[in-house]
Symmetry: C2
Subunit: 152 residues, 2 copies
DNA sequence: CTTGTTGCAAATTCTTTGCATGACA
DNA sequence: TGTCATGCAAAGAATTTGCAACAAG
């Protein structure tokens, strides 16, 4: 499943953005991109190991943290409190609808919330207002799978 | 600030809702109500100790978790990943703007987000869509304190 | 009395950090 | 070659759990 090197978005830029260009960082960024959704540090570490890239867990954490700090990754927390990271190709601010079953994430139109958040920011008297919006649900696939199981 | 026993919501109902009526649970619920905002389990445990109520930390965790499960408490996570609980008097669904400095929380008009979330839920094909919305910022008081420090 | 609760401490889980070795530029 | 990055293992922090003593109904 790791073919298609053609349209590789060259994570190099992302790596150099946070420091030196190393094997490990490249591998982490690469794996994060291929994850195509939110992943935990430990999960990513496991995938890397499975792929043959022996990267230390600490390095995975450090790289992901640096990426998030550099604005190249989004960061949320799952119900268990684990940090989940997602690669962010562009500088845009997005919100996602995440399937609680399979982890599939789909970007949603967040315009209305942004406007709402801005309004709150302006009318509240609070400064430096930031918002976290997380939508979760069961995607169609997982949903139908459930339905089937229920009526078994 | 803890007078006005008249309209006291009698936490008894909340306690019995989650099991037996004990000293400890009453103390925890009471302290949570008096907190009037989001508090961490450990912080609540400290307050209880300061109030002379020696309740075990495990019991605080267990009680808060049970309350949240019973729908009598809201649960969010702060930036550090710590669970923060807030007493929920009614069955209504609310969102808050929380000060990152002092913890002050203020309910905000969440109508627009609710509508937005509903729309997403209906157009996405996802089932059982739930949302988490957290607004944080620096409240006026903390803000001016900052400003003063900055130009010191 | 019987069963649910508590408290303590040990166990878990996720994440961070110190420091010597090794790799980039 | 001089830093910066890595890896390992130990440290931290928040939360959960096992189990014997205890209290509520």
């Amino acid at each position: 499943m790791e073919s298609d090197r053609q349209h590789a978005p060259a994570p190099l830029a992302d790596v150099t953005l946070i420091g030196r260009l190393t094997h490990q960082r490249t591998a982490v960024v690469d794996a994060l991109i291929r994850a195509e959704g939110f992943v935990g540090a430990q999960a990513l570490h496991n995938r890397l190991a499975a792929d043959g890239s022996a990267v230390g867990l600490s390095t995975v954490y450090r790289t992901l943290t640096a990426l998030a700090a550099a604005g190249r990754a989004d960061l949320v927390r799952d119900a268990a409190g684990e940090r989940l990271f997602r690669y962010r190709p562009g500088p845009d601010h997005r919100h996602y609808l995440i399937c609680t079953e399979c982890g599939l994430s789909r970007p949603v139109d967040s315009g209305p919330v942004e406007d709402w958040a801005d309004t709150i920011a302006q009318t509240s008297g609070f400064a430096n207002v930031r918002h976290t919006v997380e939508l979760s649900g069961v995607c169609p696939d997982c949903g139908s799978r459930h339905a089937a199981a229920e009526r078994r």
